[in-house]
Symmetry: C3
Subunit: 157 residues, 3 copies
């Protein structure tokens, strides 16, 4: 693309936010795949410096604010997979869809707000090109006791 | 398209079924997005006149028949998003995939039948072009205590 | 395709693995749909000779190894749907994405390993063309008390 001003990673860095390295899969699968110009990540966990940064249920083990942060960190890990796929986030034409799956305490219904942790950081990085639809799930058991997993579907220029 | 007989909204109206207005999002996201000729909605709740029309778990708070109706209403809300995306449901070439997520009482397994509430109304509106694959989930906590959320993936002509 | 050596069904048969017939839907929907060259299956259960081969929760009713086998059988049922869509698995250009949903005992976190039952058999059949991203869910209630449902997204040549 000729739009040299579009640099999502620089937009994040300007806010002091660094993308982590792309995490390894937890089994016999790829952390992203592409089909034509469409890219999907596998479910990404909130890795921080190679360790899971958050554990347990939002609403009991974790506060709503920690849930928001966990979703943000998981989204950054998903963006790291997209960068791995494309070489640079500047090649993303569109963030299409975000899927957020949460582990929450019984009766805790504030997880759409937690998912804003993902949506807001995508906004920050991509602006208009980051405007996405999304779906939110709650699961009672999650891999490694993570409070959140994020999937990103993106289009490439 | 030149097929002037294809009018899903009129087919619904002939049965006394009106599409609601497209609901607002519950957070920082779009209620639908498109990529090429493919459209996906965010998870849609069973809104009736701007209020959630159904609450709680199917099989305890709600009867199976109410679950079926809730899925139908949520699907109509999803179709309202597709209409918002395209201007008219006549431009839909295909309903591709339906995702239904339900909140159910422990041991209640009748939710595939409840999801027929969505599939049947899509049939009514779109006929052959409405033939879709689908996936069904159960979640223990759902936004605003809704019994169901519906996602529709559609193709446009 | 001119690659006459690419025969996923023969690769499975060489290991003594036969694809089941494509199962019927459990409601008013299609067991697969396509859009352009993209195919998605509905959620597939672990059918064996027309009956559900596994029931209940992995980690209590079923061992982890049985969970792995259930995911493998459900994946074979999903591949049977893809074969039904295309006439032959040789026409698959790529397995794009696998979605696995599991019913597990409270505290049982070994379901990503169970999902390898699906990924490994896809590997066996498709090799490089079978390399996929995936997402894993846990649901407390599942249709017919199945321990697993598998969705496959594939591209056709």
């Amino acid at each position: 693309m000729s739009d040299t001003n579009f640099d999502p990673e620089a937009a994040l860095a300007a806010k002091g936010i660094l993308l982590p390295p792309a995490a390894k899969p937890l089994g016999n699968y790829l952390t992203w795949s592409s089909y034509g110009t469409w890219i999907a990540t596998s479910g990404q966990l909130p890795w921080v410096d190679g360790k899971l940064g958050f554990h347990g249920k939002i609403g009991s083990d974790l506060t709503p604010e920690q849930g928001y942060q966990a979703a943000r960190v998981a989204a950054l890990n998903a963006l790291a997979q997209v960068r791995d796929a494309l070489g640079s986030l500047s090649r993303v034409s569109q963030i299409i869809r975000v899927e957020g799956t949460f582990q929450v305490a019984p009766g805790f219904l504030g997880f759409p707000e937690a998912l804003n942790g993902a949506s807001d950081v995508i906004d920050l990085a991509f602006g208009e090109r980051g405007r996405h639809c999304r779906m939110v799930y709650t699961n009672t058991e999650m891999p490694m006791n993570t409070p959140v997993m994020i999937v990103i579907h993106a289009g490439m220029a």
